[in-house]
């Protein structure tokens, strides 16, 4: 039987990520789901790629947003495109909804984790089917859950608290976008891997729309930003 993990020399398993995307934030609103993510692809500490689409539609009823290794996200899209293809080939009126896609992804991610060869991503999966809204997340170790609002990476620490305070049922589209922009602005100020070029994705019963890229207005003249170290003894 093969050695259990293998030596690094002959191994093809993922050891560390190279080109990465940062946070994705998602919320449920009145008509469906809204997702937000910037278009940055970092190469370590270099903000190398600035037009990376980190959100994609999946079938008729779902959208996926990814953070982490971009090449692994592209691989996941190949799996999902194949899944949807075979689903369509049945041609029988049934189609995979966001719940099914989320669970399929969970199985894939967890399986890879068990083989010590993970897909180095944290994913947000949202959608609407037959009037039912669905929003979930799954990451590289297979941890998965659903909620009214989810985020990946830094979004968990900076955006979720905002959402816990300000999210409520039946947000309008405008309110939802404003809320997401507030989350993304905080991330832009405080996450060094964030870039100021983002997209908002919307999915409703009617279908998917991913906005054109745009940037957020920022204000750097806050008193706290002027002399940032003034309260911290020993800092420079």
């Amino acid at each position: 039987m093969n050695n259990l993990i293998g030596s690094d020399a002959d191994s093809q398993r993922t050891l560390y990520p190279y080109v990465t995307g940062t946070s994705v934030v998602g919320i449920k609103y009145k008509d469906g789901i809204l997702l937000a993510a910037d278009m940055g692809g970092s190469y370590g500490s270099t903000l190398r790629y600035k037009t990376v689409e980190r959100m994609k539609s999946v079938g008729k009823h779902s959208i996926i947003g990814a953070s982490g290794e971009i090449s692994d996200f592209q691989e996941i899209m190949r799996y999902l495109d194949e899944l949807i293809l075979y689903d369509n080939m049945w041609d029988d009126g049934n189609s995979f909804g966001p719940k099914e896609v989320h669970n399929y992804l969970t199985r894939v991610m967890y399986n890879r984790r068990n083989k010590f060869n993970p897909l180095w991503n944290s994913l947000v999966l949202g959608g609407v089917k037959n009037g039912q809204k669905y929003l979930g997340t799954v990451n590289m170790i297979g941890v998965h859950y659903e909620d009214n609002h989810v985020a990946t990476g830094f979004g968990n620490h900076l955006s979720r608290p905002i959402l816990r305070d300000e999210w409520h049922e039946n947000l309008t589209f405008e309110e939802g976008v404003k809320l997401l922009e507030k989350c993304m602005r905080v991330l832009l100020y405080r996450d060094r891997s964030a870039v100021n070029k983002l997209q908002i994705a919307k999915i409703t019963e009617e279908g998917v729309t991913i906005s054109q890229p745009y940037s957020l207005k920022t204000f750097w003249n806050f008193a706290a930003f002027q002399n940032p170290t003034v309260g911290a003894e020993g800092s420079w």
Binding site: W90, D92, G93, N94, K99, E100, H102, N103, R107
Partner: protein, 276 residues
């Protein structure tokens, strides 16, 4: 059907374009004891006749729960039916595990049909000798399918298979137009009446039949004996249907059994054990 030189194996066509081994397999279905299915918009009822081979033995299981939303009743070689039911349960479980969602019935029957087809095109296999009435629920409502040994499948509003199923089909043909809007209780009542037709005068009791139901908000389950017996009594399906006129002559009771009912029909004794 008579023996001919093209019926030895399933991989030989006859000059008329027939596969005799497949047709012989469908004969096995016709010899099995009856199974009936009917559906409304929201429910599917499966019913079957249970003949024990002797008074000492229990009767064969002919209705199987495949998942909460799917059940199947079989006629023909029950061993083949058992194996196919296990396959169906496996497929449902695997789908549920991967997708957290019930397997649509329509997809299950296609997989089942494709599995049956394989056996019609391999020289080292034989066709399954069992017909399956698959009843289940999915997003688009209640469905009833019939899967053949030939690998074909059809969707039905109501159907009957097995011995003397023609009598049940005749009854169902009269009533089927009302089934879509039928209530759950009336659907079960019609299943019992149809089942009684196949008994050809023999007494319908809860020990000679099995009924199962699946519906919106109701997982597939087999009704227990007491429930079935009380339904039979309620619908007064004991012997022939009571005569329309309330005769004052007391010995012309509406529950009188006609003469031939007590004689077991001769063809039963000829049924080989594996065909029940």
């Amino acid at each position: 059907m008579f023996r001919n030189q093209y019926d030895t194996d399933v991989t030989t066509w006859s000059p008329a374009g027939r596969l005799f081994q497949v047709e012989y397999a469908m004969e096995a279905v016709k010899q099995g004891s009856a199974a009936i299915g009917l559906r409304s918009k929201t429910h599917v009822v499966l019913a079957c006749v249970n003949k024990a081979s002797s008074e000492l033995s229990s009767h064969q299981k002919k209705i199987f729960k495949v998942d909460d939303h799917i059940g199947v009743s079989i006629a023909g070689l029950t061993a083949d039916g058992r194996v196919l039911s296990r396959y169906m349960r496996n497929e449902c479980i695997n789908y549920s595990y991967t997708y957290e969602s019930p397997l649509p019935v329509g997809r299950l029957v296609v997989q089942l049909a494709d599995k049956a087809q394989v056996c019609t095109q391999r020289s080292w296999k034989r066709p399954y000798g069992v017909g399956l009435l698959v009843g289940g629920l999915d997003e688009s409502g209640a469905h009833l399918y019939y899967n053949c040994p030939s690998g074909n499948y059809f969707e039905y509003q109501a159907f009957a298979i097995g011995s003397r199923s023609q009598a049940a089909k005749t009854y169902l043909e009269r009533k089927f137009e009302g089934f879509t809007e039928s209530s759950r209780e009336n659907l079960i009542k019609d299943a019992l009446f149809a089942l009684r037709e196949t008994l050809q005068g023999e007494k319908l009791t809860s020990s000679t039949c099995t009924i199962a139901v699946v519906g919106v908000g109701e997982a597939f389950h087999i009704l227990d004996q007491e429930t079935v017996q009380s339904l039979i009594n309620e619908f007064e399906i004991v012997g022939e249907e009571p005569p329309a006129d309330e005769a004052t002559v007391p010995d012309q009771g509406g529950v009188a059994e006609p003469g031939p009912a007590d004689q077991g029909t001769p063809t039963d004794q000829g049924v080989t054990p594996m065909d029940v």
